[in-house]
């Protein structure tokens, strides 16, 4: 087995990937400067070769993990022979060094795709050169700075296995992947933005060529954040999904700036303004992903004292600084081309709401970044420990979210340039009416508090906005033709992929807002002790403890209780919360069980360890209203993004219909 040692093969493939990547970088820059087609082709081929070499490195690591080759340092430090196959496979990204190979591999995959598929435009050579530079950094880190393929001597018999929290749920196989795909996807628009600056073509060209890449990156990031929330909910045992933890925050900040970006690029495409702003936004988005990686990979966020823990953190910090300084410097250097003489017909217009929304998204991003970094800054300067926790983030961002929800309703209804006052007044009347009606009903049902009632009102406001949008699109078409309403809606959805897709995404946001309101405002937590065979009443529910159990597999022991959940004598389900202990790890992992219901979830978690034959169980019980709506909203957002990405035939129709139109004129 070990005649052919995997470690050196893995190291060699990483070094090969580095060599290809460096060549691609040099060839791309020199080729782009000299307009040398041969060098550019060579660079693109080297890009593809980098992807192949990285694929070999990933494959070698997977083989090493699956065959328990503990002579490879990463396997020895993070894997365990007795683990099931799927855990061994995902152990690739369960720790720092492995996750960096994954990142480098995915980035090289995007790059190879771009090198092979991107249309040959004046921007392409430079965009590929920027991609090559970023890629070189992401290959350099695993190849040289944090090498995972060191040869262990002596070879240990077994390893500790990955962090137990990471092997307790299948989401480990999904969420990190989505997150990297999102981060990596947003590298493409950044590279094209840089190319636009270098070639002095800061028009809409770069964003049109990367529109799909941007949406794909944004869609993956959205999906990653929502699945991350659901994962926390399923495994962390406290019935929540978002704790404003630094690691969560730094993944959220690029999402906020990217969301601002995908809205404001439309202003540039339609109205030829905001050149500088859009460039700044994509630079900010990309540099925030790097800053986030630095903060999470260096241990800085848990404490300033962990600074300098391994060379990866400083490498990311240096790369973050270099990228930010160079890209902003380039923008300053090209300022004459970038600045535009913008003209705005009226603030009350589509572009006006996009601009206001941008200010709100950026303000949220700033508040989150400040809250995350503030404890670090204070501790670095004064040595004092301060805490900035969830209540701050809620207080600082809630009013801004209300503004975002408000703009989300009115923005799509406003035309570009200038709103017609009559239409606007009628739309506003409808939306305000429905919004107020929603809030009044909620208040009558016993809801209190400014933010909850405002949120309910804004949900109504947005639902009215959807109805108005569809009516405005469908009614004229129904009047003109002979087709039914359903057919017309179908045609409208089919012909306007982007617009209809964005409506679906916005609907997902509304569903999610309802879920967040219900679960954060109206959840009830209790800890109870139930004797075996007895029943405990909890609000409108009844829990009966049926039995305790201890179950053992090759790699873990789970101990918990079986609990029947009833409402009005009707059995809703049987839950089996437990605590898992993984062999080789000291940490016990709570493994809650959830009853998913449309109106509220019942969440049970074992509060204190269960021993064999124990005749009672201590349970943490959470009843969380509407929480599953958050996941549904996330799915709707992902589907809407996917729908907007399906190829549209609209352009063909436009070009076909144009000559006809000019004849009639």
């Amino acid at each position: 087995m070990n005649e052919l040692s995997l470690g050196p093969i893995g190291s060699a493939s990483l070094l090969l990937a580095l060599a290809f990547s460096v060549w691609s970088l040099i060839a791309a820059w020199v080729g782009a400067v000299r307009r040398d087609a041969g060098l550019l082709t060579s660079s693109r081929l080297a890009g593809v070769a980098t992807f192949l070499a990285m694929s070999v490195a990933v494959a070698v690591m997977e083989i090493a993990l699956l065959t328990d080759d503990f002579s490879v340092s990463y396997v020895a430090e993070t894997s365990r022979a007795a683990n099931p196959v799927w855990v061994k496979m995902v152990t690739l990204w369960a720790a720092l060094e492995g996750s960096l190979i994954l990142w480098g591999w995915l980035l090289s995959g995007y790059w190879a795709l771009l090198a092979l598929r991107a249309p040959n435009t004046p921007l392409r050579p430079w965009a590929l050169a920027v991609m090559a530079s970023v890629q070189t950094f992401f290959v350099l880190v695993p190849a040289v700075i944090a090498p995972p393929f060191e040869v262990m001597n002596p070879v240990p018999a077994d390893g500790p296995g990955p962090n137990p929290l990471l092997q307790n749920h299948w989401m480990m196989a999904v969420h990190p992947f989505l997150m990297y795909l999102g981060f990596v996807g947003l590298t493409v628009p950044f590279a094209y933005a840089m190319a636009a600056l270098i070639t002095r073509r800061p028009g809409s060209e770069w964003m049109l060529q990367t529109r799909r890449w941007t949406l794909i990156g944004w869609g993956f990031l959205t999906a990653a954040i929502v699945t991350g929330g659901w994962w926390s909910y399923e495994v962390l045992g406290w019935g929540g999904y978002w704790a404003w933890d630094p690691v969560e925050n730094v993944s959220f900040i690029p999402w906020l700036t990217a969301t601002a970006f995908i809205h404001s690029v439309q202003v540039q495409q339609r109205r030829h303004m905001l050149k500088a702003w859009n460039l700044a936004l994509i630079i900010l988005t990309f540099s925030m992903t790097l800053l986030g990686t630095f903060l999470t990979r260096s241990g800085v966020v848990s404490s300033v004292h962990a600074f300098g823990d391994g060379p990866v953190g400083p490498a990311f910090l240096a790369f973050f600084v270099v990228v930010t300084v160079i890209s902003l410097g380039l923008m300053a250097w090209r300022w004459d081309q970038v600045r535009d003489r913008a003209d705005l017909d009226h603030p009350v217009s589509r572009e006006g709401t996009f601009l206001a929304g941008n200010v709100l998204f950026l303000a949220i991003a700033f508040a989150v970044l400040l809250g995350t970094l503030f404890p670090l800054i204070v501790e670095a300067f004064t040595g004092d420990k301060v805490t900035v926790g969830a209540p701050f983030f809620d207080a600082a961002t809630l009013p801004l979210w209300m503004g975002v929800l408000g703009l989300m309703g009115i923005g799509p209804l406003l035309p570009w340039r200038r709103a017609r006052w009559q239409t606007l007044r009628s739309n506003l009347t409808w939306m305000t009416g429905v919004g107020v009606a929603f809030a009044v009903v909620a208040a009558a049902l016993g809801m209190r508090g400014t933010y909850p009632l405002l949120t309910v009102g804004l949900i109504g406001w947005n639902l009215a906005s959807f109805a108005l949008l569809l009516t405005a699109a469908v009614v004229p078409r129904v009047r003109v033709g002979t087709r039914s309403v359903v057919q017309v809606i179908g045609d409208y959805a089919f012909e306007n992929r982007r617009r209809f897709g964005s409506m679906i995404v916005h609907l997902g946001v509304v569903v999610m807002a309802a879920g967040i309101l219900g679960s954060s405002g109206y959840r009830v937590d209790e800890q109870v002790r139930i004797e075996m065979g007895e029943t405990h009443a909890f609000r409108d529910l009844e829990f009966t403890a049926l039995n305790t159990f201890v179950e053992q597999t090759e790699y873990r022991i789970g101990a918990g209780a079986t609990v029947r959940v009833e409402r009005d004598g009707e059995v809703l389900g049987t839950l089996r919360p437990k605590i898992n202990s993984f062999f080789g790890q000291s940490m016990d992992v709570p493994t809650p069980d959830v009853l998913y219901l449309p109106l509220y979830d019942v969440y049970l978690n074992v509060g204190a360890g269960v021993r064999e034959g124990q005749d009672f169980v201590i349970l943490r019980v959470v009843r969380s209203p509407l929480i599953s709506w958050i996941w549904v909203g996330g799915v709707v957002m992902a589907l809407g993004t996917a729908y907007a990405l399906t190829p549209s035939r609209r352009r063909e129709r436009e070009t076909l219909s144009a000559p006809e139109g000019s004849q009639t004129a």
């Binding site: 933890d245 303000a363 937590d525 209790e526 800890q527 709570p590």
Partner: protein, 164 residues
Amino acid sequence: MRSAYVLLAALVLAALPAQAQVANPGAAAPPERLESRVFEIAQQLRCPTCVSESVADSSAGISIEMRNQIQAQLEEGRSEAEILAFFQERYGDWVLLEPPRRGIHLIVWWLPGIALAAGALGLATLMVRWTRNARRLAEEAPLSDEERARVRAELADSGPGGPA
């Protein structure tokens, strides 16, 4: 990673004396039932040994201890404010997840508002300038009568337009 665990261990040790004070000598066995108000209060306290988790969310030993302590104090009839003050006295402001609105914390409370105000003001200024640009553009290149007539004719032809 390893030094993070060392740090964590150090924090646990540092917190132990405080924890010993917290343990109420009156409460013999820790309560096994915790009412929902316990979690509402614990939501506002930071778990001293965790990385940014609240006492309500964490399953660390010290958090369980603190939740029991909150239950015991609630049973003694103490108010939420008194209980929070009790923990603040022992652990300092650091234990409160909501930064107090005084001293250095004012920076974190005020800056987002200042940034938003600056952003809104900046946008308003730009909007004024841009609408002026638009007006000037219209004045510089006004439509001729001929063009106006054509626009009117085409608008009349196409009837009431669909949404933008």
